[in-house]
Amino acid sequence: MVRLLRTNAFRLGALYLALFAASVLALLVFIYFSTADFIERQTEATIDAEITGLREQYEDRGLPGLLEIIHARSTAQHGNTSTLYLITDAALHPIAGNLSAWPQAQHIRAGWIGFPLEVRTRDGPVQSNALASVFVLPDGFRLLVGRDLRDASAFRSRITRTLGWSALLTVALGVAGGLFMTRNMLRRVDAVNRTSERIIRGDLTQRVPLTGSGDEFDQLAGNLNAMLDRIERLMLGMRQVTDNIAHDLRTPLSRLRARLEVTLLERPDAGRYAEALRETVAEADRLLGTFNALLSIAEAEAGSRRETMAVVDLAEIARSVGELYEPVADEKGLALTIDNDARLPVHGDRHLLSQALANLLDNALKYTPAGSVALRAHGVDGSARVEVADSGPGVPADRREAVFDRFVRLEGSRSTPGNGLGLSLVRAVAKLHGGEAWLEDNNPGLKAVLTLPMADRSALAATRNAA
């Protein structure tokens, strides 16, 4: 409960309740006063009408007629004394009517008086108030017509009571509703908090429950869950990468260590030592190369570069990489043809895409002893498709998937330099960009294909203009 009092939701609820209660109260007060005023006016109107009627009777039939009517009305109303009549002479001695004496009246306003009244009822005398108007007849006689206000005040007190109850009910409902809503909100927030706490304690598989209503809380929960999914994916990716790196680097490191150890065991000889050191440096360089390649793959797989991606021109990247390798092909006597669309806007990372294309081209040039290599970049059905086709020995169909795995190299290619990570990077880069990479038969030779979803053409123009 103390916690409830401290919550923001409760404070908000209380504030709303206060505002609500105040406005309901104002409304009730208004209803009360307008009703009371209406009743009073009604009473006055009744008395006025009565006096007007009696005066007309007096003017028509004189005093005896009036007395007769008063008498008749006073007795007819026996038991129902809500209308009061009294006629007195100039000295205020009663002559006729249902009041026994001229009352101890109090002047209220022009033409109106009020006085206390004792009414006899079946349950005994009851104290009440009356409102009356006095009409002075020409020969000094006075006519008093009034009304017992017992009914009016009963009605008024009933209204007061009703209004009081409704005010109380309103507040009670408000409090109950506020509590209900606050607790409801608290429960949703609590669910988020509980999940967060469990995650903080280390259980990253926890997710915030959704109610399925699609409201703000569900949206919040959904966003939190999406965030957690991403974090979990990244963490899993990182863990896998560190495992792999640890595993993959152990072999070359052992080899390095063995070479040094063997050198130490041999007879000391400056020449041999220098040779061993040179070999060690070369081995360390290869190791670093492998390490860097693994890091690039890890980075692409983790998707941490996705945030810095922009719209880039894949055609331009292909041209540029092709140009980098053109002299290499030339030197080897291979015909390298580059064929691309003018523009292929994709949403991506220029460095990683360049590296992926460089790896594909590097492979093609490395494994094609003679013939031709073609680099093509075209837009096909809304996606950008880059092909590197060669006339080399190709890859057997059953090995075309395996070579994308880390460190997988085909038999017979071990004599050529390479670390078996080139295609792994290509695939990781393709996946990072929401695309695909695979190998096909080129009849003869091999065709490596990389497809990426094409970005909006206008987006590229926009970034170009901005740059």
């Binding site: 860097n292 810095t308 030339d330």
Partner: protein
């Protein structure tokens, strides 16, 4: 030439200092960021070699602080963080070059030399000259001994970079980064092929070669 090495890894710092001293530089070492900033602020150094992660004060913060106090000493950043974004951050903070650990010492040396020769108002230059090789940057024309040499755009940029660093050793990585803007290591020695093509164009038929290969390091364009 006086250099300051700000590096907290003692072994690496000693190795760098030893190598630089052997190459003829006067080297001071300091192991933490605060003292490094203090010493670098004196302005007595010709270049600074700053490790990115330092105790006391981060390397990038140090460089930013130096630049804020108008100290324009060239800075080479050393870092284990090699992603393009990391480089960009380093260069934005005021670094002049960025070298990813681990590196070959010759790479470091080549880059330090490049930094020290910089600041000759290269932006205003419209003509470069190495021996009898001349480059007109405005007309984008190259001549050697008055004889015009036709170059492809990329070859032109490669030669321009070599000429701007004439007399210095330029590594393959430096070329790849500066001429092609690639920060990865192509498995085949593509740079060698490009350089040998350029050599064909500028040295073939001339008695004295200008473009020299420096074994185990890179290339050097010099008139002798």
């Amino acid at each position: 030439m006086k250099l300051l090495v700000i590096e907290d890894d003692r072994e690496a710092a000693a190795y760098i200092a030893k190598g630089l001293s052997e190459s003829g530089y006067v080297v001071d070492q300091v192991a933490d960021g605060r003292s490094g900033l203090f010493m670098a602020s004196s302005g007595h150094y010709d270049a600074l070699i700053v490790d990115r992660m330092l105790p006391g004060m981060d390397g990038l913060a140090l460089i930013a602080a130096l630049r804020a106090t108008e100290v324009r000493t060239p800075v080479l950043i050393l870092s284990a963080l090699g992603a393009v974004d990391d480089r960009v951050k380093g260069l934005r903070a005021g670094g002049d070059d960025y070298l990813v650990k681990p590196f070959a010492f010759r790479e470091l040396l080549a880059r330090i030399e490049a930094l020290l020769r910089r600041g000759g108002g290269s932006t205003a230059t419209t003509r470069l000259k190495v021996g009898d090789l001349e480059m007109d940057l405005l007309a984008r024309a190259v001549t050697r001994g008055g004889q015009e040499i036709e170059l492809l755009p990329r070859e032109f940029r490669l030669l321009e970079f070599l000429m701007r660093h004439a007399g210095q050793v330029v590594t393959r990585t430096m070329l790849l980064e500066n001429v092609w803007d690639y920060h990865f290591d192509p498995q085949t020695n593509v740079i060698d092929v490009h350089v040998s093509r350029l050599r064909q164009k500028i040295d073939k038929g001339f008695a004295k070669p200008l473009l020299h290969t420096v074994r185990g390091a890179g290339y050097c364009l010099r008139p002798d």
